[in-house]
Symmetry: C2
Subunit: 404 residues, 2 copies
């Protein structure tokens, strides 16, 4: 197809898009914003809420807000708001800290779950190896290495394709990304989780690039532990707090390496001995970061009447259409998609390899098409179904074609 | 003295208070707010700044703000803004994470500094003991216990008075509070730090209840590592990010247990191998929590023309006057101060033990005198010199006297 065909096609797709009305709930401008997989756009519900939190809850009620404004219970309350988006029943997710800190809790916690006795040091159970996605967003690998060092384990980086072959009775835990941050490849969470369990190991999934973009099915697939950020497809704002999922039946044995006072069974008892709280609460650490957390809570309201399945359907239609438009508009050989074409292997982004990708992205941004550049040669375009339309997609590909 | 004498005395003290004008920079009401040692009052500079961060920086500039709005460098920039308040030269403090998480970085980092070789496990250096303040705010003890467990050390709780006797060539690190959260007792940071160093151990100070209330002198006294929160005397807002100080000469050897991508020498290189950034940056972990962090930055502007020495002078005058008024107004034997009378041993709060303290505090709050209750029997009154006046102090003590 060519422009005279693709433009009307985009219009038709937009006209029948059930989620099209959600765009009005976000602050957007003339640009095509395809960087929601880095920082989600501002939901209109957020500024007023933040103002209320600052002026009334903090400014007037002050410390009373810990109870009266629900500050104290925000981590678990907002966790329960995220839960249905990732296929989790309530009571298994707490919000707080950064993704990196939650990866640390999860990996050390997983090694201890795998050991199932003693102080969680490797060796007692013979499970002294942690497998980590070698293609992961780097922080997961760095933090997993630290967790391995502190628990006496060996860290073994493997690609997701190599996981099955690498599993053994030495494997304590496996840390994988649901969607690769660079290529946008979706990994097979159900079958990899099953393989990890068959080997007697603990499965940890990083959902940063999948939560809010596609169904995850944490409970359904028996995932043990999961972490994710909230500032990408969940639109929580810059550096908004991350979350930790601990499957319900594992919670009594979840032994956090960061047992701060917020995870104590009786935090205001101020006792010198630590007794962990029941349930997901034991994933909490210190005082919750209220301003950012309640901005996130407001941002999540956009999901009130949206199913993650409908988001996934539109996401695949958007990325399919983008690939179609790229093929039509971009000179052959100028870019190469590193994102799988199979729907079962695709997240909600398209990554195109091209020469001078950094420069190309700068010029795209100057022309109002906002994606991002990832070393060494990747143009990354994220598609947030809540606010990206098919007309945006056609325009982005058309402008990209004009770069060559 | 009695009321006819104490009221005019309060008026006279307020009239000559150099810091009295700062009160106008805070949102306050008719209540006497003596809980700024739990949550500082809202600075007037904050709401407008937060609105700008949300609407313009996030809403309009979006990802461009990581550079253009200075988001990426906020942790070290705001750390440098806190530095003079705690007697630190620039380049030694980063803001981020909760106090609990920073205690974890500091204690594990200290054990590794003490070991000075190998992988930081205890045993290699013979230094396998961590001393922790037995009267500490509980989270420090819980986290220190976790750090001890993960590094193969023994945790030994001792009172600050017992530290000197407990130090030995087995001591790796000592974690102490500058001011006790319950009694308001100020510990002798210079001499305790010197004693810890004489024993060859690493000194970690928790400044939660001293930073912003009195001079700390981190550099002057050669403190190794320090942590603190920013929502008490620094007025950063509920759960605002904490900070970590690593003395400059120790930075090249500071080996964080939370080596997230933000502490990498080249974070956007996305390399699988971890190379720590130089300087204080290696105390960073994950993506900084921008909304809360920039609210804190606005809150710190109130310090632009204020010296911590003048704050300390007023703080002591406030607590002296409060004790004087309590003696005058409260029936003998109804309350007992557990805060030291010597200025050298007093922070910026007064803690009074009394029967039914929880009920007394509820009634005080109903009468517009806001302090807090700490188990089992302590009425805690915090005095923030930036916005508490001597008239407030007289009123608080007078209302307290009416409780009995």
């Amino acid at each position: 197809m060519s422009e005279p065909e693709l433009r009307p096609k985009a219009e038709k797709l937009d006209a029948t898009d059930e989620l099209a009305g959600l765009r009005a709930q976000f602050v957007l401008d003339d640009a095509v914003y395809l960087d929601g997989n880095s920082l989600g756009a501002l939901p209109r519900s957020v500024p007023g809420r933040v103002e209320d939190v600052v002026r009334r809850q903090w400014g007037s009620l002050r410390i009373r807000s810990w109870d009266e404004s629900g500050w104290w219970t925000a981590p678990e309350r907002i966790g329960d708001r995220i839960a249905p988006l990732v296929g989790a029943a309530p009571g298994q997710i707490v919000v707080g800290d950064s993704t990196s800190v939650n990866v640390f809790k999860a990996v050390v916690g997983a090694v201890r779950l795998a050991a199932e006795k003693g102080d969680g040091r490797a060796g007692e159970s013979g499970r002294d190896e942690i497998l980590v996605d070698a293609t992961t967003f780097p922080t997961d690998g760095y933090i997993a290495a630290s967790a391995a060092r502190l628990t006496g384990c060996t860290l073994r980086p493997v690609t997701p394709d190599e996981v099955r072959g690498a599993l053994s009775n030495r494997t304590a835990a496996v840390l994988l990304n649901h969607v690769d941050y660079r290529t946008g490849r979706l990994h097979d969470l159900p079958s990899l989780t099953a393989a990890i369990h068959a080997a007697g190991a603990v499965a940890i999934w990083d959902l940063c690039h999948s939560a809010g973009a596609l169904p995850v099915g944490l409970d359904e697939h028996g995932v043990d532990l999961a972490v994710g950020c909230t500032y990408k497809y969940l639109n929580g704002g810059p550096g908004s707090p991350a979350y930790l999922y601990v499957r319900e039946d594992l919670q009594p044995r979840f032994d956090s390496p960061l047992p701060g006072w917020n995870s104590h069974a009786d935090p205001f008892g101020m006792t010198p001995d630590y007794t962990p709280a029941p349930g997901a609460l034991r994933g909490r650490v210190g005082t919750p970061d209220i301003l950012s957390m309640l901005a996130l809570e407001a941002a999540l309201e956009v999901w009130d009447d949206v199913s993650i399945e409908s988001v996934r359907t539109k996401s695949l239609a958007l990325t399919d259409f983008f690939l179609e438009c790229v093929e039509a508009y971009v000179p052959e050989g100028a870019v190469e998609s590193v994102t799988p074409t199979a729907h079962t292997e695709r997240g909600s982004q398209v990554a195109l390899r091209c020469a001078d990708a950094g420069d190309v992205m700068r010029r795209l941004i100057d022309r109002g098409v906002i994606g991002d550049f990832r070393e060494p040669d990747v143009l990354r375009f994220g598609f947030t179904p809540l606010y990206v339309g098919f007309g945006d997609v056609e325009r982005a590909a058309r402008v990209l074609g004009e770069m060559f």
